[in-house]
Each structure stands twice: as C-alpha cells, then as structure tokens.
Symmetry: C2
Subunit: 342 residues, 2 copies
Amino acid sequence: MAKQKQRLVNRRAQVSLRDVALRAEVSESTVSRIMRNQDLVTEATRERVMVAVRALGYVPNRIAGSLASLDSRLVGVVIPSLSNIVFPEVLQGINAGLAGTDRQSVISITDYDLDLEEVVVRNLLAWQPGAMLIAGSIHTETTRRMLDQSGIRIVEFMEIDNAPIDVVIGMSHVGAGRASARHLVARGYRRFGYVGYSGTADFRARMRYEGLLAGLAEAGLSLEAESVAAGQTSVEKGRTQTADLYGRAPGVEVIVYSNDDMAVGGLFHCMSAGISVPQSVALFGFNGLDIGRVLPQPLSTIRSNRFLIGRKAVEEVLSSASRPEGGRVIDTGFEIVEGATA
Amino acid sequence: MAKQKQRLVNRRAQVSLRDVALRAEVSESTVSRIMRNQDLVTEATRERVMVAVRALGYVPNRIAGSLASLDSRLVGVVIPSLSNIVFPEVLQGINAGLAGTDRQSVISITDYDLDLEEVVVRNLLAWQPGAMLIAGSIHTETTRRMLDQSGIRIVEFMEIDNAPIDVVIGMSHVGAGRASARHLVARGYRRFGYVGYSGTADFRARMRYEGLLAGLAEAGLSLEAESVAAGQTSVEKGRTQTADLYGRAPGVEVIVYSNDDMAVGGLFHCMSAGISVPQSVALFGFNGLDIGRVLPQPLSTIRSNRFLIGRKAVEEVLSSASRPEGGRVIDTGFEIVEGATA
DNA sequence: CGATGTGATGACAACGCTATCATCATGCGT
DNA sequence: ACGCATGATGATAGCGTTGTCATCACATCG
C-alpha cells in the first residue's frame, strides 16, 4: 500500500487543463493540442473543448508550459535608463520586431550601474529567456561570463566600439565624435567648447568625447573649455551648463554637446540671452532627436537610428538560435545633419 | 518491473539544483534553502554549497520555482505606447516602486488598440502575475472580465474618470479640461482654438477635450476653430496643425492643445512665423513636461505627475494581496502651471 | 480480405523546482 | 538515564503543462 502524503491546504488555485479536459470529456493532451493550435483535432472536438474553455474562463499557464517545453519564449532586454528618450526609442524598435511573433520582452533597468547590471542580468537569465538584448558592450567580468555561458543569443546594442560576445549592433561612438570634429573643423571652426553630463556612467558619451578630442587633435586643436553636469541628461542642464561655459569662455566659436537634449537647452539659453546662433556661437548635438528638427532653428547634429537598432537586434536573434562563428558586428551607421546651428 | 520511457534526446540542458546537490553532497532541499536565503542551514554547509554553485555557474530556474511555489513574482504592466513620453515616465515610477523588492515587471504595449489590449492582457495573465497595472479604465468587456476574474490586484492608472475594477490612480482628465477652460476664461480669453491629434484612440485626450468644451459652455463660449492631426502626438504635428489653424482662424486669442508636445510645436511655429505669444495668440498645453519649463518662454500648461502615478500604483499592489471592498480611487491631482504663453 | 497506413485521441513521464513531512543527532532538564 | 524540544538535513509528492509513444477506429489497396 502506497504511503499517501496529504497537503494541509489544497495549493491548487486556478482553473487548469485538467478541469477543462474533465468538463469536455477529453484527455488533457487533446486540450493542450487545441490550446496550442496544433492540427490533428476534429472540428467537433475542438468546438466542445472551446465551449468548456470559455465556460471556465480557462487561461493557460505559461509558466507550466515553459517548464514542460523548456522554452520560455521570453526575450530579456537590459537598458540603462528610461529617462533618456533614446532607450524608449530602442524599445519601440524591439517591440516592432517582436510584434506578430509569440515572444514577449522582459525589460530591466540598470541606472548606468554595472553592478546593478550584473544583478539584473542574473535575474533575467533565471527566467530562461531565449535571447538577451543588452545595451552597451562594457560589462563586469561576471556579467560577460554569465551571458557567454548561457548559450543563448546575446545582442549588445548601441555601440560597436568593442568586441562582441555574440553580436553587436549599432554605430561607432568614437567614430561619431571624430566625425563631429572633422565636420566642424572643415566648416572653419577652430575654438571649441564642450558641454556634457557626468561622463563616468555613460560610456557612449565618453567615447564620443574621446573621438571628438582625437578628431580635434588631428587638426592640431583641443578644447578651450568644457562644462559637465552631474547626473542624467536633461534640456535644463544643457541650458545651465551652456550659460556656465559661455560665461567663462565667451571666445569659443562652437560648442559640441554630449547629446541633443543638452544642445537644445543650449540653444534655448542662447535665444533667451540674445546670443546669435551660429554667428556668435555655433551648437552641435548628437542623436538626431525629433525635437531638434522642429526647433525654430533646426539643430545641427549627428543622427543615429535607435528604432532600427532595436528592430535589427530582434531580427538577428529570431533569425537563428545559434551564435555566428567568431561574433558579428552590424553597423547601423550615423549621418551628419547639417541643420542651422552650426 | 516498471515500464521505462526513454526520451529520444535528453531534454535537460542547464545546470540544475540536482547537479549542485550532487557536487556538494547534500540534498536538493538544502541547496534550495540556501538559494532562497532561508536560515536553518549551517554556515559550513552553506559555504560548501556556494562553492559548488560557483564552480558550476548555477543559475536558479525561476520558471520551475514559480511553478512549484505558485508565485511568479511578476507584475504585468500594460501601456498604450512608448512614443508618448508620459508612459516611460510612468514606467520609471513603477520601476522605482519595484526597486529593492523581488518583483519584476513585464511590459506590453497596446498601440491604443482595445482589441490588441485584450490579447496582451490574456498573454500577460498567462504568466500568472501577482498584480496587473494597466493604463486607462476603458477596456473591452472581455478584458474587464479577465482582469476581474483573475483575482489578482489590478490598478488602472492615468485617469480616474471611470469606475475601477479594483483601484484607479491618477487624475480627472475631464476635470483638467474644464480647469483649462475656467483658467483661460478667467484670464480674459474669449476666442478659443484647439489643436490635437486623432481623438478616437487616446481616450484621455478626448476627455480633456470634452472637459474643455464643458468649461467653455459654462461661460457661454465654444471653440471657434480646431485642427486635429491623425496618428500619434509629436512636436512636429503641433507645429503644422498650429500653422493650419492659425491660418484659417487668425482671430483666435488662445489655442488649447491636447498636450505639451503639440503646444511646444505650436510655440515653435509662432517663433518662426513671428507671431508674438501671448500677445497675438496665447498657447496652453497639458502634461507639464520638463521641456515646457525650459523653453525661452515657459509653457503655460497643466501638470500631472506621471512618476508619482507609477510609484503609487506599485505601492498599492504591494501593500495588500486582496482588493479593497468596493474599489478605491486615488487622486494624484493636477496643477495649473502659469508659464508665459497664456 | 487481410495487410497497411492514417488520423484522432489517450496515457504518462518528464520539466526543475518548492512545500511539507520525516528523520536524526544533540543538548537539556529532571 | 530518559523524555523531549530544537536545529539541521533528507525524501518525496506535487505545481500545470508538453513531448513522446501507444492505442484504436477506419479507410485504402493490391
């Protein structure tokens, strides 16, 4: 006689496959097939089962399904922030790529903190995602190892300045910084200023900054002044830092910004302070945000394509379950937007 | 003799609890306890197990864990869009509320489509979330029933103009529309124009619009002209629709916008076209976005608090696992921002 | 007319954990 | 020395699905 263990309480709560099967007088297998739209089921049976499904308000349990099939149909997404508009834009691209598939994204935020990123990646990996999309290619050693050893597809997106674990998608930020310098030097500017925000956390902003310096150095130039704010990017900081920098170094001919947010703030400062742009001082941003295009004076900047990056990242992981030999680099490029501020 | 079924391939892939237990020469129970930080384990044993965990690179499988414990520790989030900045702002609040807890949000986008919302809610419910946060309180009958019958905590956020399933958090958009009208009438404006975007999809914009009409009616007034663009909100549309409306009805004294994006576009149009604001025409927005504050001319608008809405929504569902009797309405209010454009 | 598909359904063991109960030393009071 | 908490660990039955094979009723064909 088998020993019977009895639970104190019945842990089962929800309507399950079994309930539907009992009600429709078929096996659980049949209900399962119908719920997954597999064929091989008679129309009459399907109808009978669906009646039971509707009557009971049955909703399949994907947690159980994922465990049984060893496939969660989840895609992990890791981004540093939601307050910088570029990341929601990437998310839109990811969303567009996932639309119509049966995959679901799970998003986590790192606040530009590599240690938090490590925690977040571990927690996401625990959900057995089929792929992981992560912003940037600078991680802790442990994060890299976890991602690598997971065996799933990994896309590092935004910048392509470093070696990939699997695939990187984006543009060269060092290249963009250098391109800014060359472009502005070619237009005759010689006295440069820089306005940015806390350089330590945002590696891409730092890469652009370094590309800028390198580009200036090629022409035998360097920055005359810079003003960097702490914390996250904002239009307001662009405004205050521009006031600060231009007050200290009114001789600069052009100010290069870490990004468009800051540059827009700079333009607003100039408009308010009666500083003519680009005659008295020229302004140059980065990102190519929509807002820059519709300003009274269109912003001169470099456009990257965040939506495309997100969509291509998804396309890449959906295209194959295995990693390409030796990694892959997908350059989505960038484009100088002439504008009217430089 | 027991019949032995053999799988064609070994479906097991990952390092599991069993592997760790074997290596550390303890039972699976003990490893499980340690991974969940339960006490009752000797320090020596814990150390031995952790060595094995690290050696094997073991990552717990939350799908299996959730199934066994009947608790996914997931919070479903449903929003209409990522391209309207207010939703990422709510997400930030949600993220802040969830930080430090062991819950993880899962986000889905509806594109302002109630049928898609239904699909998305069903798919999210399949993940057995412990709570669901959903933008708006207008849903299909089926969506409402699914949410209601799920038994989990449901927060409908953004507007509080309708009856809750469980809890609603936000502000009255009809009230905000009416407040705009009263405020502007009190300031002496009589000839009103309206600029917005496709009213059918964004119910909140429509509520504000109707509140505006109601407020104007109180003063015996009505809209002299309106210009509504199709599709999603953008600064650019604000600009083009303003040009359209002001061209057709140059006599309007004030233009009320569906939101700040559009209003900023309107201001840019006026700046470019040399229309003095607010002398020739006044502009009034809605949302209280950061950008409005730092414009050369601060935007007059109504501020809502999206971050707060997100954070409070999370606090509410974390505070209790059961729904309050008869529902609950949490008003986060709104505030008229005087600005310089009206 | 029996062999042989073929299409529809059922049975049941995984999947990797957690909850629950069982077990087994120890220490302690009496 | 004995009974009994107490603390640490083990054994095992689920959790709600899916994958795989088995079964069974018919139709088809040479």
